[in-house]
Amino acid sequence: MKKIVFFTIVMIIAYHAVVFELLLNEFSPLPASLVWILSLVLSWWVGHEFGHFSKALWVLGLSFVVAGILSYVLIGYYMKETLQFVVQTLTMKAVSVSLLLFFTATVMSAFFGFMFKPRQ
């Protein structure tokens, strides 16, 4: 149970960081692709840590939903003074496609982590 809570928090951070990386790409020091790879490393770890993949999938699904709501709320808070050029570079379509792709990628990464886990 403790493990599930810990990895749910880790994946909430990962998803939330990716959403904000899409929005704040030019403001953060690391490139968006590197953040994606780092978050995939984290989800690999989720798959690696659980004995059943169903648990990993629960963690990913739950944290994806929570991070989505959290990001939605926080965008309103952080971007009160929205800069016009940020809005121009940000299209809803690109964000949703990237997110869907990213969710699938994390699930796959976690599954690979689960698959290549050494078993006694």
């Binding site: 880790v10 951070i13 990962a14 939330h16 960081a17 904000f20 990386e21 704040l24 030019e26 403001f27 953060s28 020091p29 690391l30 590197l34 953040v35 780092l38 978050s39 490393v41 984290l42 770890w45 690696h48 952080y78 971007m79 003074e81 929205t82 800069l83 050029f85």
Partner: protein, 143 residues
């Protein structure tokens, strides 16, 4: 023994490094964005205009970019009549200076106050690794 310990801990170390990098990148991104938005929203371009003996004396001051490196590029000021026709247009380069002045002749009948004015200034702004060109509306004041 040492290699065994290393093999056990390596994935965990990679995991913690990834988590730290993600968190730090996120924090830095939000911090930089918030500061940048605050600094840019306090920036403005002021234009004071004085009419004297059929001439227009104007002064443009770009200010409020505290801590940012700015290169004012140019400005344009339009004087429109009631119907939206351009009575006079003033534009010039600012040569990276935050202040500029101009003197030009006024159109006939400027004493009747049935005209309005609008203006813009292009400023290129640099901060850390960020570089943008801003299009700031001039706040016009009359003396």
């Amino acid at each position: 023994m040492l290699s065994l310990v290393k093999r056990v801990n390596l994935p965990k170390i990679v995991f913690w490094i990834a988590l730290t990098l993600v968190v730090m990148n996120y924090t830095a991104g939000v911090f930089v964005y918030r500061n940048y938005a605050r600094k840019l929203s306090s920036a403005k371009a002021l234009c004071t205009i004085r009419f004297e003996d059929g001439s227009i004396f104007g002064k443009i001051v770009v200010e409020g970019f505290e801590g940012l490196k700015i290169h004012p590029v140019d400005y344009q000021i339009y004087f429109y009549d009631r119907r939206g026709n351009v009575l006079k247009m003033v534009s010039s380069s600012m040569f990276n200076r935050p202040e500029a002045e101009f003197v030009t002749s006024a159109w006939t009948g400027y004493e009747q106050k049935d005209w309005h004015t609008e203006g813009y200034s292009n400023v290129s702004v640099e901060w850390l690794w960020l570089k943008i060109n801003l299009y700031i509306p001039l706040e016009v004041r009359f003396e």
